[in-house]
């Protein structure tokens, strides 16, 4: 979902994208490369498309376009997915990266092509777990799309957050190290952005279609709740993380209580204000 302020702009952007799809996509196929006689400039132009951009093309969800290409190039995926297997034993460390490069059939030095080193491995975890949520949606809620009774969105949000937290189960013992790396000033912007994308994904998959200012408050509050729950989980030793589940329920409950309270206050204030103005008008005041 996109913020309301961007709706109009995104709509026009979408029409531009439609214009782009009119252009046949034969030359933009990613397999095009050549080693034959031709000027360097065109080599540069054509090969540019070999390398996917590290950031997604769109910052909003679309049901009418294919998903943007992932941020990882094939070689990166090969090394990182192999390195990820070593995380439970070696943690998010250069060891895991180098072992991953070895398992992928490369040299120890090969792992150094991964941008940001160890943080690249953490980002791999964050991105793959976030993208996996969309696949779990049908299993969680069934296929029916349009039957959203009141309270259903909140229930779905809880289920999705829990599903995402369970994505940390395998590497939970190492997650504090990862959080420490993510908190390094260099990586804070990327980490916060990834949290924002996750929360946005959760609200989108939960079927929330609000376009009022609550778009922002919902995402802000869920970010805080998710980050707190994740931190709580790293110290949770209860079977099946039951305490984390309780913690998450309490936080979501508090958020909805606060939401209800602010809504009541707002209603009261607006009613009183308009009533007051009407009283003044009835007394002949030119308002």
């Amino acid at each position: 979902m996109r913020p309301p302020a961007l709706r109009l702009a995104a709509a026009s952007a979408r029409s531009i994208r439609r214009f782009r799809t009119i252009v046949p996509s034969s030359t933009s196929s990613p397999s095009t490369t050549t080693r034959t006689n031709r000027p360097l400039t065109s080599a540069v132009l054509l090969n540019h498309q070999l390398v996917p951009s590290s950031s997604p093309r769109r910052s909003y969800h679309s049901t009418t376009h294919p998903p943007p290409p992932g941020p990882f190039t094939p070689v990166e995926s090969a090394i990182l997915s192999a390195a990820y297997q070593h995380v439970p034993t070696h943690g998010f460390t250069p060891e895991a990266l180098a072992l991953g490069a070895r398992s992928a059939g490369y040299l120890d030095i090969s792992a150094t092509v991964v941008p940001d080193g160890v943080f690249g491995l953490i980002r791999w975890h964050l991105v793959t777990q976030r993208l996996a949520l969309a696949g779990k949606k049908t299993a969680l809620f069934g296929a029916e799309e349009n039957k959203l009774v009141p309270g259903e969105v909140a229930r779905r949000v809880e289920a999705l957050v829990w599903e995402r937290l369970m994505g940390n189960k395998e590497i939970n013992s190492r997650w504090q190290e990862a959080l420490a790396i993510m908190a390094q000033p260099t990586y804070v912007p990327a980490s916060v952005k990834e949290l924002a994308l996750l929360v946005d994904e959760i609200w989108y998959l939960a079927g929330d279609v609000a376009v009022d200012p609550s778009w922002y408050t919902k995402r802000a509050s869920l970010s805080a709740i998710y980050a707190a729950s994740e931190l709580f989980m790293t110290n949770d030793r209860s079977p099946d993380f039951q305490e984390t589940r309780e913690f998450l329920r309490r936080r979501l409950g508090e958020a909805s209580e606060i939401g209800d309270a602010t809504r009541s206050v707002r209603e009261w204030v607006s009613f009183t204000a308009s009533a007051g103005i009407n009283v003044l008008r009835s007394k002949g005041m030119p308002i």
């Binding site: 080693r35 031709r38 132009l45 093309r57 090969s110």
Partner: protein, 344 residues
């Protein structure tokens, strides 16, 4: 962002349309379809070397803002570095306020040479061969050796410093005498043209015999890490040098390049930076090194060097694969680290 990104992509769509209409592109697309299948079968070696990647002494290239032939550029670059060799390190400090040390430290730390994961085998420290091209004064090579031998406790890492210019190599050789003996033993100096590493000459010292040493070849697939720091923009034929790097690297080996780049993303900072490089640096060169022209060439060659993405595409074109964007900006893009890996 939702507004910016698709809107920015429109020009590319237009470029694609216009390309499609041009007859030359139709030809190159036909060539594409025939070569793409052979590439998928053999990812390692480029099937044919494009004409622009074959060194040709008479082909025009640029020397700073001038247009010269490749052979002439080689001679004049040799002249520049012979004349600046003695003052090279002092000038680097003055021109970049010492910041080049930070870049070089970061470059070497991000490559972490000599690092081996602890494993069950008896000696987990696998040997590595690092080739430091245009490494003249040894700045990168000495840092590599320190990281590998001291920090990663891996004495089986050896470094070959290669430079086309014997004057720069002698400065490096002189400086290397202050290193620990074990590190000196792991160092070797060769004089070579990076576009053709099949003919390298070990550096002659004054004590060695005057008889000429036969040229030696750096064999294919023998190098773990190929580094070039602030050197590649002086090469006469960069595509040829990239293909030569591809040849000598082992599959999985890493090509790493530290080079000046474009700071276009920050216009205000870029203006200041350009003022500094075009006004101050030649002046400092005149005052400190007594050589204005060489430093004028230095800043002009920085200006003529391709942007981050263009150079990344040249690396991909030479047969390397990249991860992420393929480059990392340093100090807002004043310098950039490009890395590529030779695929299996």
């Amino acid at each position: 962002m939702a507004v910016l990104r698709p809107a920015l992509s429109v020009p590319r769509a237009l470029v694609q349309t216009s390309l499609r209409q041009s007859p030359r592109c139709a030809v190159s697309r036909r060539l594409l379809s025939s070569s793409s299948s052979s590439r998928s079968q053999n990812n390692n070696a480029p099937p044919t070397t494009p004409e622009y990647a074959v060194p040709d002494p008479s082909r025009p290239t640029h020397f700073g803002f001038e247009t010269v032939t490749e052979a002439e550029k080689r001679e004049r670059v040799a002249g520049v570095f012979t004349s600046v060799a003695e003052s090279y390190d002092r000038m680097n400090d003055l021109m970049s306020f010492g910041w080049h040390r930070i870049w070089k430290d970061h470059f070497v730390a991000s490559l972490n040479p000599g690092f081996s994961p602890l494993s069950s085998s008896s000696d987990p420290r696998s040997p590595q061969h690092i080739l430091d091209i245009a490494g003249g004064t040894g700045d990168i090579a000495f840092r590599m050796l320190h990281t590998a031998h001291v920090l990663n406790a891996n004495p089986s890492v050896r470094v070959t410093i290669s430079d086309i210019n014997p004057a720069m190599l002698s400065v490096g050789k002189q400086r290397s005498t202050s290193l620990p003996a074990s590190q000196q033993a792991a160092l070797s100096f060769v004089e070579a043209n990076a576009e053709d590493l099949t003919r390298t000459t070990p550096l002659l010292t004054s004590t060695s015999s005057p008889s000429p040493v036969p040229p030696q070849e750096i064999p294919s697939e023998s190098v773990d890490l190929y580094t070039v720091a602030f050197g590649i923009r002086n090469f006469s034929n960069i595509p040829a040098a990239l293909r030569e790097a591809h040849r000598v690297l082992k599959p999985g080996g890493v090509f790493a390049c530290l080079e000046f780049s474009k700071a276009d993303k920050f216009p205000l900072f870029n203006t200041l930076y350009k003022e500094w490089s075009f006004r101050a640096i030649p002046l400092i060169g005149q005052l400190v090194a007594g050589d204005r022209d060489s430093y004028q060439y230095l800043v002009e060659s920085i200006e003529r060097f391709p942007s981050q993405t263009e150079f990344r595409d040249m690396i991909v074109d030479a047969g390397f694969v990249v991860a992420g964007e393929g480059y990392e900006d340093l100090t807002g893009g004043v310098a950039a680290i490009h890395k590529g890996m030779k695929p299996r």
